[in-house]
Point group: C2
Chain length 333, copies 2
């Protein structure tokens, strides 16, 4: 992805490896500061996932692959590393997919090479998602996206943002409404930062305003996913379900962009997806500042489940599929 | 309303008059501090409305009535005062209703007496809204509300919160999900504060989580309104439309609580309601702290319009009416 620093553009990845160290753009610090987090062992990787130094299902998968490689090359107990990494966050399927993938592939390719392949595959898949999804975007379209399913969430290109990047690079004049995405503000902090770096016109809106704009002038909604069940029900950032319901009520196409690693064909429907609930402080405080009265209680589910009926299409590296068509992705890598 | 200070409950109004001064609980400062704003002339009143010292359609109406009384007793140019007060905010119908009401009633009753009657009428109407709406709430119900349509928004009792207060006072065991209501956080700052003062069980949620909980366990949604057109389309805090669409999709009753002063029978539908757009800084900063990157742009419509088809009932001081029944309120005071 393009990153603008001191008036100059450079190319960066959200996660990369050099020597024995894995580096992350620290997503807790953006957009105020561009800081790099260094992970030297699998425990650092587990910390980075649990504490959201890195987030977004495909990027979490990539971090997990690098974490497994570190455990393997440093002769840690690989079973223990696998358990520790899987225990960081419950919802993103890519996390579990990546750990299992490494267990299978590292003995064949070597741990470092396997993790490198996992990362470069994700980048390739996201570029394909961009090309497949870009065809759904017309010149002049206004697009709404929720949370950050950008390069930061996927190493490069993004899932939901990949079609937007490709459409923009093809010269289509597009405009993006960026839901700010409370409580963690992935939209106003991360998605807006990515779009600014790419010079893609956009405006941040309160999550509450998404319905107003979907009704008024949005041409399509594109979001990412954290886990997609065999029937097409999917978990994504809290609020996704509301946007999908409102899009359907206004006949606005609603697309889900995700690589096959996000599909969990072992579960039949969204009822089987475990929804993470994070700390109340994400709701009652902001940047350390208290924004609710003392003693106030909050509920903080950070994902919700959207039923497959509300999805116009799944944009994958293999093409765009309706909920009925995703069966054909089962078993593909 | 009950207010808990230094461990003791006292009774307070959101707006009141003593001598030649109008006092407001300063809603910009809650819940961190309970400060009183003093308005000594109509210009102070206009400032208080424009800068959201006071907000909420019925409370804005009451402030406007007091402002007109100040202008009249201080021998200001009443036409000018009327224009200045009406120019503060465009959406709440009560503002215009109250200024016109004062123009008609002050010559008959005297300005101070007319404003006092306007305020005490609002309190009575909200109590009736509570009694009429309280019947819709059953023991054990889980209720979701958006923004603050409480005593702070209406001098006392509230509109949406009045049925909740009455149900609680009757011993019904209820639980309230409080949408935090970005960007101004009327939910986490004001509604949660009111419910805590009344010891009504509740939890603050991100606006994004409303859909998740409506789908899971909410029994009814109750909101206020800023302006209701003759056909029942209504403007309320941004985000209301989304909650209404999701409630309908889940067969959850969706109620709008408002006094007749909020109904604007001069407009036929929601298309005629002017939607206020406030400053971008309400989105890009919080409490003075920047939460988006430098130069980021935002859109900040602070109300949206919900079509009447999505309303299960309008809870008024005269009873509960479906969209087809509100015609009968035309001309009532």
């Amino acid at each position: 992805m393009k990153v603008l620093r001191n008036g100059r553009h450079s190319d960066m990845l959200a996660v990369w490896r050099e020597g024995g160290t894995v580096y992350f753009i620290d997503q807790r610090k953006l957009p105020g500061a561009l800081e790099i987090f260094e992970a030297r062992n699998y425990r650092d990787i587990a910390f980075a996932i649990a504490h959201m130094v890195v987030r977004g299902a495909p990027a979490i998968g990539c971090a997990a692959a690098y974490g497994m490689a570190l455990a393997m090359t440093q002769h840690d107990n690989v079973e223990e590393a696998s358990r520790a990494i899987k225990a960081t966050r419950p919802t993103a399927h890519d996390l579990f997919y990546a750990v299992n993938w490494m267990t299978e592939m590292a003995p064949r390719l070597g741990p470092v090479e396997a993790a490198a392949k996992y990362a470069s595959d994700i980048i390739d898949k996201c570029r394909l998602i961009g090309q497949n999804g870009g065809k759904l975007i017309s010149d002049g379209d206004i697009i709404l996206t929720h949370c950050n399913a950008g390069a930061l969430a996927t190493v490069d290109y993004g899932t939901a943002l990949a079609p937007i990047r490709i459409a923009h690079s093809e010269g289509k004049k597009i405009f993006v409404y960026v839901d700010e995405t409370r409580p963690w503000l992935q939209g106003s902090r991360l998605t807006a930062w990515e779009l600014t770096n790419e010079s893609i016109p956009h405006a941040i809106i309160a999550d509450n305003a998404a319905g107003h704009f979907i009704r008024k002038d949005v041409d399509c909604v594109i979001v990412g996913a954290d886990r997609i069940a065999a029937n097409g029900d999917f978990a994504n950032k809290i609020g996704t379900y509301e946007k999908a319901v409102v899009a359907r009520a206004n006949d606005v196409p609603f697309y889900v962009a995700a690589p096959v690693s996000t599909f969990d064909f072992t579960i039949t429907s969204g009822d089987d997806i475990r929804i993470e609930e994070r700390s109340e402080e994400e709701i009652t405080t902001m940047g350390g500042m208290r924004i609710a009265g003392p003693g106030e209680q909050a509920r903080n589910p950070v994902f919700d489940v959207t039923p497959h009926e509300l999805v116009s299409g799944f944009i994958t590296e293999y093409g765009v599929f309706g909920p009925d068509g995703i069966k054909s992705l089962h078993g593909r890598l």
